[in-house]
Symmetry: C2
Subunit: 334 residues, 2 copies
Amino acid sequence: MSRTTIAEIAASLGVSVPTVSKVLNGRSDVAPGTRARVDEALKRHNYRRSVSPTARKSGLLDLVFRSMDNMWAHEIMLGVEEAASARRLSVVVSELRGAHRPPQRWLDGVMSRRPVGVILALSTLEDEQREQLLARSIPFVVVDTEGQPPVGVPTVGSTNWDGGLAATRHLLELGHRRIGVISGAPHVLCSRARVDGYRSAHDEAGITPDPALIRWGDFTAEGGYQHATALLALEDPPTAIFAGSDHQALGVQRAAHEAGMRLPQDLSIVGYDDLPMTAWLSPPLTTVRQPLREMGALATRMVLSLAEGKELVSMRMDLATELVIRESTMPTSP
Amino acid sequence: MSRTTIAEIAASLGVSVPTVSKVLNGRSDVAPGTRARVDEALKRHNYRRSVSPTARKSGLLDLVFRSMDNMWAHEIMLGVEEAASARRLSVVVSELRGAHRPPQRWLDGVMSRRPVGVILALSTLEDEQREQLLARSIPFVVVDTEGQPPVGVPTVGSTNWDGGLAATRHLLELGHRRIGVISGAPHVLCSRARVDGYRSAHDEAGITPDPALIRWGDFTAEGGYQHATALLALEDPPTAIFAGSDHQALGVQRAAHEAGMRLPQDLSIVGYDDLPMTAWLSPPLTTVRQPLREMGALATRMVLSLAEGKELVSMRMDLATELVIRESTMPTSP
C-alpha cells in the first residue's frame, strides 16, 4: 500500500503543501489549473488521506438525491435520518434537480464540510468524482442504482426481480390472463428486473405475454395515467395492471375511473413501493413493499462502517421485497 | 448597544477565554456546571457574537421538524432546499421524533457546526435555547407555530382562517347545511383558526352549526378515519366534511366507502394542504392549497436576511391559502 504524503505530491508538482491541502479540503481559493493538476497527481499516486475516526468531527452525513420531488425520496430520507441520528450524526440533504451526476460545486461543498460519508440515491459519481472522494477518504454508498454500478461501488437495493415475480404470480393466481405492466425507463436496471419477474411468472404459468401489454415509461402518476389509458383502449384490454410505482398506480386508478370502470371489479391493480398512503387509497392498494426506510438505514450503516475502516461483508446488499395484498386486486369474473 | 466581550465574560466568572469560546462553539469538553454559568453570563450581559457575513463559512442551514413522517414536512423541505441551494447553502435536516422542543444535544450540534441560520417547523425553542442561539448570532425562523410565537420570534405561516372560510363557503354555496369539520388539536393555533373560519362562513349564511359536527383530533389519515366514522354514524349525519389535512381526507374517504357511500354523490369532502397526490385521488380532491414550498422558501430568505444583519419587514408573514376545486365536492341533491 503506497503511502504517498502530501509533501511528496506538492514536491512532484512544484506547488506548496498548503496548496495541496486546500485542494483536499475543497477550498475555492486555488486556481482551476493548479487544482486540476493536484487532483490528477492525487489520483496518479493513489493518494488516500489518513483520517482517524476521532478526526471526523463534522458530525455530518451527506445524502444526495437525483430528484426529491416524490414520496420515494422521503421514505429513503426518513431511514437515513433515523439511522444517522442514532449515531449522533446530522444529515445534509441535497437534490441534483434531475441530473444523474452531482455538479463539481456540490462535490466542493462535500470536500469542505468533510462529512463522515456520502449516500447517493438514484445518482452516481463520475470516475473522477469517485476518485476525489476516495483521495479524501470520504466513503460513499449508492442506494438503487440506475445502471450497473461500477466495480467497487457499494450499493443497497431491493429484490426487484422477485417483486415483479410475486406481483405477477398473484394476478395469475387470481385468474388474470391479460396483465399489463407499466415499468420505469428500460435503461434503469430495477425497471428491467421487475419486467423480467413479470415474464418469468408468465413462463411458469405457460403463458406468453402479449408484447403490447408491456410498457416502459417513468415512475410518475402522469406516466401511469398515460400508459394505462393506452392499455385500456386496446381492442383486447388487460384485466389487471401491474404498475412500477405507487405513484403510477394512482395514475392507473384515474385512467380506469375515466374509462368508467369499477375498481377492483373491472380492473385489478398492483402498485410498487408500499408508500404509507397506499393503505388509505380507495380501494386500498395491493402493492409490492420495498423496505425504503430500511434501505436508507442500511446504506447509513454501511457508509459508517467504511468510515471506520471496516471491510463490507458484500459490496451489494439487496433487501427483500414483499407482496402486500389489500383490496385493489380480485379474481377475474368467471 | 452593549458590546460585552468574551474576555469580560471570562473575567467576570473567573474562567479562561478559551472556556467561554468553547461554550459558544457548542464543544462538549466543558464541565456542565461551568457551561451553565457561562450561558447564564452570556444571557445576563446580553452578549451577541459578532459575525461578519464572510465568516459564515459552514455553508449550512439547519432545518428541524417536530415530525417528518408526513408529506407536509416533505413539501416544506423541498421549498427550503431549493431556496438554500440557490444561495449555495446546504440543508441539514433533523427530526425531533415528536418532541415539541429540540433537545440540548441537537442545539449543541447546531452551535458546533455554526449554520447560517435555523428554521424550525412546527417546533419551538425554550427561552433558554433561543437565548443560546441569539448569543451565538445564529438567527432562526419558525414555520407554522403551534401556539402564539413569543415576541421577537420571526414566523412564517399561511392564512388558516381564510382557508377555513373559503372551504366552508364553497360547501354552503353547494347547498350543504350539515357540514362536519375535523381539525387538528385545539391547542394548535392553525387548527383553531380554520374552525373559526368554518364558523364565520356559517354566520354569514345565518346558520348555527351543530356542535356535534365539530371534531378536534390530529392531522393523520387514521384520525380523519375515526372522526369521519363517528360523524357518519350520527342520527343526522353531515352531507359534507371539511378535513383539516389531505391526510385526514384520505381517512374520510375510507370511512365513506366503508359506510357504502358513493363519492362525491353521497358525501362532499374538502381537504387541506393540496399535497401533490391529491390531484390523483379518485375522485380528485377539492382542497385548500397551503403554499408549503413557498413557505419553506420564504423562511429561508428571512433567515438569510437576518444572518446578513437586515431588519425583517415583519416578524410574521402569512402566505395566502387558496381553494382548489376538483371533483370531491358537488351540490346536494334537491
